[in-house]
Amino acid sequence: MAEYKWPEAEKRTLIGKRVSRVDGPEKVSGKAKYTYDIKRPGMLYGKILRSPHAHAKIVSIDSAEAEKMPGVRAVKVIQGPGTEIRWAGDEILAVAAVDEPTAEDALRAIKVTYEVLPHLVVDNDTKAAAEMQMARQAAAETKGEPDKAFAESEVISEGTYGMPVITHCCLEPHGSIAEWEGEQNLTVHISTQNVSGIAGEMARPLEIPAGNVRVRMDHVGGGFGSKFGPDRWGIEGARLSKLAGGKPVKIMLERDAELMVAGTRPSAYARVKVGAKKDGTILAWESESWGSGGIGGGGSPPLPYVFAIPNQKKQHTAIQNNVGSSRAWRAPNHPQGCLITMGALEDMAAQLGMDPLDFFLKNIDLTGQRAEIYREEFNIAADLIGWKKNWHPRGDKTAGPIKRGLGLSLHTWGGGGHASDCDVTIHPDGSVEVKMGTQDLGTGTRTTIMMVAAETFGLPMNSINLLIGDNRYPTSGGSGGSTTIGGVSASPRRGSVDALDLLFAKVAPALKAEPADLEAVGGMIRVKSDPKRALPWKQACAKLGAMPVTARGKNPGPGTLTSQGVGGVQMADVSVDVETGVVKVNKIVAVQDCGLIIDLKTAESQVYGALIMGVCSALYEERVMDAATGRMLNPNMEFYKLAGIGDIGELVVHMMTGKGYDERGVIGLGEPPAISPTAVLSNAVANAIGVRVPSLPLTPDRVLDALEKKGGNNARI
């Protein structure tokens, strides 16, 4: 029975090293094909007619003219007369035509009449939501004795904190190409985070066996939690294809649709009261929070976040408004909980006249089992940003309009590996194949799987032929919730160990050794006790004879290869122009643990990416809904703003590795570093300008408003 564990640190040749991603050259040269790039022979273009109203009943649909248009191959009603439409952008009808302009002409020729109904699209007005019966008391909880604790508190800090709805804004929009072979077999190229899971979700509505749905994807231009399902447009694309005699139909969302209907992160706002002793001991927390995740209502942020304050009173109201439902967005609910909590605690530190680093460390035991990790990480982050030298009490008192400030935060996430199967095959010619029904979101999944297999076989990475992005390969999980790396590293490790055992059994006689005495090191199969007795890899594989050997690697499985639970801290340094309200990021430091790191370089990249997304949502991103028309006003990248390279500032990433970390096994990293950035930037701005800007994004209008109204509860959210 083989032993399933990661190699000891001194024996690792690849794991933990900085390895450049294997698909980098393909991507930067434009050779990599994304779903958007795929063009099939005879392919038709699908377009969706969307509701212009946020709330309406469909009275009639007349598509006769469109159906007669030359070049139109299929027209299909998605939601017919009588249906109640509950958000602008909802799908009404789909067409397929020989090219995009013809499909657009067809949509313009379709006449839909609506009975327009009252709508609510604002996400922060609990009163208006209650009047329309669109507010729901989502959570109310009391712990300890909050009233008593507040009465005993020597210092009380109150504030308002929040973040608006943002979208995923994937640079490659959602979409797919569907084509039928006969009546029963469907092939789908789809931009997805979930290659193995799509077939089942498509098969049910299309009434075909899931095994008849082939799903393919080589590269994806971003998902961030919004690309797990085939979506209604994916299903309808397949239906259009069938109507058009099985011809491939491509539906990729336009940029405005991508921003309107393909996923959002719920908003969250809170009025918070914190009570503490003069020495900084936190005693009590009270919060009244609200927010919206669209028509579905959205989640409730974990409050207080990470700090288990002994006495708490909290309630949350979910506003269910007339916009499309939210989807998972990197660490669902955590960024909201983090911003509100870290903001409120930082405000308390300011009220106490304490350095927030001292204040956080004084209360660090409230974070529970990871207290020591946070302490260690804070010390490292403080060194990297020069906290002791650069921190000043709230409000930069230096002359001139540019004010500088520092902020900090901490966060946590699970990140255990998901279920993952793979087949590892050693061929008699010495080639090695790994097949897994996973996908590389751009995070380095390909690279890490190849590193694990190469490490196990003692081979260079380029001798591993990795096949992913196809649901005909063994089933692996969706890439989300930071569950990917644990799954896709553990299963090939187990599979490679088992395949190697099969090879050892065939090679052992030639080396006059027991199979258990063999090891694969440096391109050789050799006898552990007598390394001179060895065969080069290729010659060893020739002993297999005619047939390859294949082992199925699985996760979960024997041995501790992955676990969960991480802590990270971040610090930020910003400059704010108090005459214009413009915020510039000088530097963000992220210190993060995630157990054993497979590829240090792509792990660091994952953190850089999270920080960049954090800069975007802290400073720029906001879905702007027009109250009167119920429409989104900024479904484009001119006014749905993301950071450019000049806006990001210096990013410093420090990964916790070595003893105390490596032995926990592999843990996911997609979510944790994406949690704190908005909190550190909000806190840094408060430190710079002396007042809290209650709500993100930290735009000139909000910054100037907070300065004018002295921040806190007075300023506009």
Binding site: V624, L633, G644
Partner: protein, 330 residues
């Protein structure tokens, strides 16, 4: 995008003969950085596009000490940035061009295109029309989200802001817009080129449907100090939230006369004669510059969501003046 006819003439006479007598029949295509997006979003849907890029006489930037600068309508933003004389003698214009931080727009977008781009008002771009009214005839902008809208000249029905990056500097410098149409050539002072329309279907500038901008001429500034300051939130391409261009005729350290023009605060580039008069006879320092900024926004009336822009306009004037007085690069 809807189907359209495409014509690519080589002379300006051919161009005007291909343009229609009504707005909406034809559009001229230069860099296309605005027009193509408007067409894709179905905000404008011309039956014919008339490509200007083969009309050679519309290209190029020339300078003579007596006549000053002549910028062909097809000169790109990058051409402006590459021009040594613009950098040396027309700093405010160079600074405005630098504010267009997209390499794609710098390389494709033209100077006349920057002047004639349509408003960036998000109600207009969503298809609600230039004046964006609801079914009761009420302004969606006035009652809605007007954070990027006008604080001056905003008595309605126009609430958008003039989107041009270059216009404030050109107006401040006393530039002239050269226009060609069926009746031949005419010239318009840049300060009178922009109009505030009062009916849908009218344009925001003084051109007939069959007229085109052929060039912009800027007189020699003769050592007048000048500068542009824009407040943009991002380094990445971002429309200015407010901007100001100033040109100062100095006598020693004293302002003899001044031009102060604010951008992105009104439906037209907004010249503040109050600020100009305030500056006469003063030497520029922090206090005077702040005073001019204060005076420049005295008439401002903010809408429900854009009061912050008053402060941004004030700061733009102040910083443009201080930068002009220093005379150094930004």
């Amino acid at each position: 995008m809807r189907a359209f006819e495409y014509a690519s003439p080589t002379t300006k006479e051919q161009v005007v003969s291909l343009l229609g007598s009504q707005w909406g029949e034809a559009e001229v295509l230069a860099g296309g950085t605005d027009l193509l997006a408007l067409m894709k979003d179905d905000i404008v849907h011309p039956k014919r596009l008339v490509n200007l890029k083969e009309v050679r006489e519309l290209r190029g930037i020339t300078y003579s000490p007596g006549q000053g600068l002549r910028i062909g309508a097809l000169a790109t933003i990058q051409d402006l940035l590459d021009s040594a004389v613009v950098a040396r003698s027309y700093r405010a214009l160079a600074q405005a061009a630098e504010g267009i931080t997209s390499p794609q727009i710098r390389n494709m977008g033209t100077v006349a295109g920057d002047l004639c781009q349509r408003p960036r008002c998000w109600y207009y771009r969503a298809g609600f029309g230039l004046f964006a009214k609801d079914e009761k005839g009420e302004s969606l902008v006035k009652n809605g989200d007007n954070r990027y809208h006008a604080i001056l000249g905003n008595s309605g029905p126009a609430y958008y802001v003039n989107p041009s990056s270059l216009a404030p500097a050109l107006v401040a410098m006393g530039a002239r817009v050269h226009v060609y149409g069926p009746q031949g050539a005419r010239e318009i002072p840049a300060g009178r080129f922009y109009l505030t329309p009062s009916a849908e279907g009218e344009r925001e500038y003084d051109l007939k449907p069959n007229e085109i901008v052929t060039a912009i001429s800027v007189p020699p500034l003769g050592g007048m100090k000048n500068s542009t300051y824009e407040v943009r939130q991002r380094e990445a391409l971002d429309w200015p939230l407010a901007a100001a261009s100033v040109v100062l005729r100095m006598s020693g350290n004293t302002v003899e006369s001044a031009r102060v023009v604010m951008g992105h605060v009104a439906p037209v580039p907004w010249r503040s004669t109050e600020a100009e008069q305030f500056l006469v006879g003063k030497s520029i320092n922090e206090e005077v510059a702040q005073g001019a900024g204060n005076v420049a926004v005295l008439q401002a009336k903010s809408l429900s969501r854009n009061a912050y822009k008053v402060q941004l306009a004030r700061t733009s004037v102040k910083r443009a003046l201080l930068d002009a007085a220093r005379g150094g690069g930004r």
